[in-house]
């Protein structure tokens, strides 16, 4: 692969040198070739560095992108480091949907819904707090660092841009199996946060801030709620329609490919329909993923199940790696660096103050909202201890492609910065993204192993208990109930019967709340079994049907595969 890289770069340079590459179509082929070669190199390097505790695929891709940018820059004698221009459309229309869809498809649903309130607190209220802190700080500090004449809109845009955490990088530094509570909190926050940021950004761009009234505040809140629920509804509807189509028509009878194609297309349709109606495609495709993994996935043939599970993950993986590679390559865009008239001292001050504001802005909501969440839930299972708070704070500090995409939208026209201020802000954004991803990203894994040593992690975090709570037998029943599966239905039913008969023997009020949540879960299960599954299929339902009608032979591994996805 390395040989291919060299050939690709060499040829691109050769073409540039000889002027043969002027042909726009062929330049495009050259850049695709370079990107595909680099993606292959990233995968191989990522594999070789797998055991390394500091590195991960994102950072490898970023660094590889930086190196390639530097090589192109040096060999073109400082003329250009660009191979492709950053294209918002490429990012929002093609790269982001597979990542978010796969996140919804593979997320542990129970964990996610168990922490739903905390996730919404972080993802919605958190963004507003962070936005307030960063905007206020920028408004106060930036004029001192050589940016005197920023409009109120630019200041607010900066607030939004640097409040958008990077859910892609989070996926790589936190492990769903090792730290499920942290993963579901930070990642769930990331998805909701992306949506909130995009909405807030649109509000900042369209509202007239000259005469801002409290009424307009309510309007923004109202439009946010509309957006949130409409997007979720759209995603859920797409997922259910796909489940219904596949269950009714039983495609597998004729072609596995049709099933896979319809899942893929319906998922993408949920994203693009949301964008069509100016909703949040991110939220829509995320919920579509959840619904598809709950219903549609169980209606397809065994081969389709294996295929969708792995091919969605692969698409997401390629898109992620591509984004980081791209951000790395874009960082050395000399035009922007030259256009910015800030001195080194001013740039450093700007960079430092923004980094400080990001740290502060996140601290300003993680600790209070965690405390609030702890206060409101009472259940020890969902309580967040101080060590976990620090990790949540830290793991969400990375800024990524969403920040870059928003900054490009705000500070460039057709990809080019038009003024010194715009150039300075673009350069600062790119520096912050690089720094936070590389420095905060590399430090997260070691931080987690330092704050949460494995002996605490595997058992306690798995059921979501903070390490200082002792496990007594009475506690363990409702907790097991939460992680209940069809396989250990006995425990489930015993626990629920106790609760329904009013015999939970609670030791404290928190037990009742845990029971309450289990009751909601139970009601959902009954609703699901009675009304949803007969129409939309789902786990066990279709297999039973197909076994009867087609007398297919489905082996044991099937169950294992299902369990992998279906928790």
């Amino acid at each position: 692969m390395a040989a291919d890289d060299v050939v690709g770069v060499a040829h691109s340079l050769l073409l540039k040198a000889t002027g043969l590459g002027d042909d726009a179509d062929h330049m495009h082929v050259v850049s695709i070739c370079l990107f595909v070669s680099l993606l292959c190199a990233c995968i191989v390097l990522g594999h070789l560095l797998e055991e390394n505790r500091w590195m991960n695929e994102s950072i490898t891709a970023l660094l590889l992108g930086l190196c390639t940018g530097a090589i192109v820059l040096v060999s073109s004698k400082g003329q250009s480091s660009h191979v492709l221009k950053f294209d918002e459309e490429l990012f929002f229309i093609y790269l982001l949907p597979p990542i978010i869809f796969n996140a919804g498809f593979q997320v542990k649903k129970k964990e996610f819904f168990r922490n739903f309130i905390a996730i919404m607190l972080f993802g919605v209220i958190g963004v507003f707090i962070s936005f307030g802190v960063i905007s206020t700080g920028s408004w106060y500090l930036f004029p001192k660092f050589g940016l005197p004449d920023l409009s109120i809109r630019d200041i607010l845009a900066i607030g939004v841009i640097f409040s958008a955490t990077d859910s892609v990088c989070t996926l790589q530094v936190l492990n769903q199996d090792e730290t499920p509570l942290l993963y579901s909190l930070v990642f769930g926050e990331g998805v909701v946060n992306d949506a909130t940021s995009v909405v807030l950004f649109r509000a900042v761009q369209t509202y007239n801030f000259g005469n801002f009234t409290p009424l307009e505040g309510f309007q923004i809140a109202g439009s946010f709620l509309y957006l949130f629920f409409a997007s979720c509804f759209l995603g859920i509807a797409s997922g259910l329609i796909s489940a219904y189509i596949i269950k009714t028509m039983y495609f597998g009878r004729h072609s596995t490919d049709r099933e896979i194609a319809i899942m893929l297309l319906m998922a993408y349709l949920s994203y693009i329909l949301a964008e069509l109606f100016y909703l949040s495609g991110i939220l829509s495709v995320f919920f579509c993923g959840i619904i598809m993994s709950h219903y549609t996935w169980h209606n397809v043939t065994r081969n389709s199940r294996t295929t969708t599970k792995h091919s969605f993950a692969t698409m997401s993986f390629i898109a992620e790696t591509f984004i980081f590679l791209y951000v790395g390559m874009d960082a050395l865009d000399l035009d922007k660096w030259k256009q910015s008239q800030s001195s080194f001292k001013e740039s450093a001050a700007l960079f430092g103050s923004l980094l400080g504001l990001i740290l502060l802005g996140r601290a300003a909501f993680v600790f209070p909202l965690s405390a609030l969440s702890n206060y409101s839930t009472k259940s020890p299972g969902a309580k967040i201890n101080i060590r976990q708070m620090v990790i949540i704070w830290w793991a969400g500090l990375m800024r990524g492609a969403v920040s870059i995409a928003l900054a490009f939208n705000q500070f460039t026209e057709g990809g080019d910065t038009k003024s010194s201020n715009q150039a300075t802000l673009m350069v600062t954004t790119i520096s912050i993204v690089l720094f936070s991803t590389i420095v905060f990203g590399t430090a997260t894994k070691p931080l987690i192993s330092w704050l949460l040593p494995p002996k605490y992690r595997s058992n306690l975090d798995a059921v979501g208990i903070s390490p200082n709570v002792s496990l007594d037998p009475d506690f363990s029943i409702p907790l097991l109930m939460d992680t209940e599966r069809d396989e250990n239905g006995v425990i489930e039913r015993t626990g629920i019967r106790r609760i329904l008969n009013g015999l939970p023997h609670p030791q404290s009020i928190s037990m009742l709340l845990t029971a309450e949540r289990s009751k909601i879960h139970h009601i959902w299960r009954r609703f699901d079994d009675a009304y949803m599954r007969p129409v939309f299929g789902g786990r066990g339902y279709v297999r039973l049907l197909s076994r009867r009608s087609m007398s297919m032979n489905i082996p044991e591994e099937d169950e294992a595969l299902e369990n992998e996805v279906n928790n």
Copy 2:
């Protein structure tokens, strides 16, 4: 799904009507949305029409595209039928590679290589003959039909454009399992034909025909040979590198997704590298597919095997459907129809004469070259009888997206026709593509069942024998040898020992030739086992290794899955 379509179209019209859709970015979202909805509708309709003997997915997609075009046309009051402009890049860079790669990946390798000489005769010499017939005919006839001042280059381009058969549609009308000989001949020809057409088209566009000398003829031949072998080499090298990387690193240990990603990316790299070096990406990715199914595919984990097999097929399926949908929608482009100044009579004459030339041009090489192939092989197994010749002639009459793409390249500038002549030729090309796909396409399945009733097909065509040859026991041994597998190794070894010991008891010279081919196959197998497999892995090799080192449990179905792909 139908509801989604309606919403998509309605919204697009609403946007157009209200002027909200003027925003270029959002128009793009609208068109993606429409296409994704239509793709879903095609899949569902294709499924419902599965049992219909006249229809197939291509024709469904074409008709659906036509209907959508008509709806958009009517509702925009004749203003526009375009949702997306035909984009050569989209076609050649993104849609064609997955189709051809999948064809190589799923092709029955033995069948393909057994008919290699016939395929090359059809795919290379055939194109030149057809090109000659159509060019000469056009040069003689077109001036009479209102196209007096065509340049020699345009005439020759027309010859190439209408010599390119549509391998995509062929895949859908011929069945690999029912008529393997015909499938491998017609499809193999299609792939080679695509490559030949593209090369010939480039030659037509770049050579100076003012002073054409025989030397230049040799140059074209030389550049074709270079192109052919360099492209094959590139494809084979990419495939082998991917096999080597996966075998050496054993990705599956860490992540299935990495294996799938590297296969996907290396396959695409073979295509795009070929394009980078101005070679034939089609040939390159086809051979990469063959190599990957022989080596790489056997080196990956079981889940990756299932996933790649189905996801490559799905990608190809989506790309095919998209192309037909697109061609259908593009057909009603009123601008071109208006710009063409030909009268109805002239247009009809042009259309009719071109159709006649296509029929004639194909007949001019299928029948003589089949006879030549029959004369040269002598073996009854590879002989093509007259009924099969008719089917080969007929199934290759369809003209498809390659013709359209080449015509766009020749007769438009940035997607728009500039003169009446150009518009007339574009309109004629689109009409021919639509007519041939719909009329010839629908008639192929019935034609096959009429000419080759199932009682002949299943046994006789499976071993490639023309129905009038009787099966006597002595014949059956070498024929079984051709279809030999590891499973029935006894027959294989007996047969080969007989031949190697000079005891084949041949009844005729044809037996010796069959033995000859088996010997080549045997030499290849020994070379493969001795030198290739130890380095690049492959069937059985890695499984043995992994069984020993990882003590993995690989069940029986694995074999079944392997057999499906590995013949």
